[in-house]
Subunit: 357 residues, 2 copies
């Protein structure tokens, strides 16, 4: 069966302000210092498994030029634009309709655009296993991540018995919301929980059937979109139908309710790069624990993250600080306060300084 990939790239990524902006969120940034953006890496690591013509990107119309510029190897018609932000379920429904029109049925790998993977070899192997599991029936397969510490910022997947006849594939008992630290520790220690990575693999027909069952109010709109796909009416139909969808996540809308949900524990070195702190996990730090990009002189500086731009940055006697310099904004933030960066953005919005948001 044809294998396709759907890359979800509509996110705003406020947590990487001031580098990320509403007109250039995290997936379009290079955060690893190698010049390649997150979404370029996401597409690039699929080359072994999927043809470029079978990679679809769902994003916001505002990011059209960024996507076309950064992903010029993809056919233009594979870039799908959401006329409104409606969370992941409508996004996936839209992509499923387009793929169904093109191929009738196909395996559909749904992948976030802004995560990092350390071992591409193991990542591809995991996806191949997931594709097999998805092809074998009406299964909805989710890629779980073996947790390495009790993270409270992720949802968890409680998995049960191994699926018979499939190596490394497990039944999902339930999805659980972001836990408190005590619960997170229990989950990690039990060995029965995985992080929910937001990566899914299924046949178009399988997810279609489940959307019909659990999100029936989407059916009519998705049918119209399916009919128009590949015709001149497509853009107008999406513009008319998509905004009518309720905002709903695929996790809550489908996965938590569906039967036949399987998970595959991934051990390929995954990071969702959820805040500036991730930079010291995914990039090399020096002997003092500093993660440094740009022109930086550090005197007696430890465990500090510095993302410079065009000017010299001198750090003297500081510890556990995040410094991000851009042409028009500079952030200096304690490591334990990165979640408060959004307060800066709120402040800017209140003051009508949208050019800085």
């Amino acid at each position: 069966m044809k294998i396709t990939a759907v890359i979800m790239a509509g996110g705003r990524g406020e947590r990487f302000w001031p580098r990320s902006r509403s007109d250039c969120p995290k997936q379009f940034l290079s955060l690893t210092g190698d010049g390649e953006t997150m979404i370029q890496k996401t597409v690039g690591r699929l080359s072994e498994l999927v043809e470029a013509e079978d990679i679809f990107v769902v994003t916001n119309a505002a990011y059209a030029s960024l996507v076309e510029e950064q992903l010029d190897m993809l056919p233009k018609e594979n870039i799908l634009f959401e006329p409104a932000a409606r969370n992941t379920a409508p996004c996936i429904g839209l992509a499923a309709s387009v793929i169904k029109k093109k191929y009738g049925d196909a395996v559909m790998m749904v992948l976030p655009s802004d995560h990092l993977i350390k071992s591409n070899r193991m990542y591809i192997d995991t996806l191949k296993t997931a594709v097999s599991a998805a092809e074998a029936g009406k299964n909805l397969v989710t890629i779980g991540i073996t947790p390495t510490y009790p993270e409270t910022g992720y949802g968890y997947i409680h998995f049960g018995s191994a699926e018979s006849g499939m190596n490394g594939v497990y039944n999902v008992l339930r999805f659980v919301e972001k836990p408190n630290i005590e619960l997170a520790k229990e989950y990690v220690n039990s060995g029965e929980y995985l992080w929910n990575s937001g990566m899914f693999v299924w046949k178009v027909s399988s997810i279609e059937e489940n959307i019909k069952k659990y999100l029936p109010d989407m059916t009519e709109g998705l049918d119209k979109i399916y009919e128009s796909a590949g015709t001149e009416a497509f853009e107008d139909t999406v513009a008319a139908e998509f905004p009518k969808f309720r905002s709903e996540s695929i996790d809550f809308g489908v996965m938590e309710k569906a039967s036949g949900v399987l998970t595959i524990p991934g051990n390929f070195g995954w990071d969702d790069v959820g805040s500036w702190l991730a930079l010291e996990r995914v990039n090399k730090t020096n002997e003092y624990g500093n993660m440094i990009q740009g022109d930086v002189i550090s005197i007696n500086t430890r465990n500090t993250i510095v993302c410079g731009s065009n000017k010299l940055i001198a750090t003297v006697g500081i510890e556990d600080i995040v410094i991000v310099d851009t042409d028009d904004a500079l952030l200096i933030c304690a490591k334990d306060s990165t979640q408060d960066v959004k307060k800066v953005i709120e402040n800017l919005k209140i003051c009508n300084r949208n050019e800085l948001v």
Copy 2:
């Protein structure tokens, strides 16, 4: 007797990097947010006591255009250039020779160019007392500052009995070098010590006599400079003679050895603005103890100094940090590490990045 002022403006001011640079040291910067530079304030506060034509500035030739631009009220011939850095004794000798040629004898107030004074009223009164004391004989008068805390970064003046017939004027018993913290506490608690402010008042004839006595190797050069002063040969003579002088401070070379040294305790709110930390003493801080200049959004930020330039600076969750942004360099420094800023400058010099020094 004619009253003149000599403003010493040759200092490099590395401690205000990156705002201060070798081509624009501290005295030519506005550090108080009112747009007036330190040297402009220094000249401005003398207006009640000295005519502009009697104010002399001794500086480095590299700062010629800065001085002329910032002090355009002074006659050009009152700006004296040191062909080489030789500390304060040769600087004062040069100025004394020029003033002697112009006026025969005169009172000469020697003042640093980069200190701040809170009460100009009391400052002028103190200088007037010093002028009277200087005129009354061959006294060398130094302005002391009543210490408010045990500062270890200043030299101290141990003063003795009141000079008879002069209100508020005391004999100097000895000058002492920068003390350790225990000694500094003793000095402050004793009530018998003042900070050495580096401000001096004397007659040209008095300092000339003392230089002859204690720095006799300067006599020949100063005589030649005196002869040439006011003639076309002046510049060439200074260029030939000045570099021959030994580098020597007036404190060590003359004041610590001379007799007839008097001091006047000043209580006019003095600050030598010796490091970035001074900014929170001499400028207003907000309710969180932050001293903020520029376009700054502070979230949960305390006791922090921010000197911005053209861009937004957002501080989140930080405390006791100094942040100074300029067009080509950014400093982020712990308050207790401001003395290490010089290591950044050393590093830049070693790397031949003199454009940033």
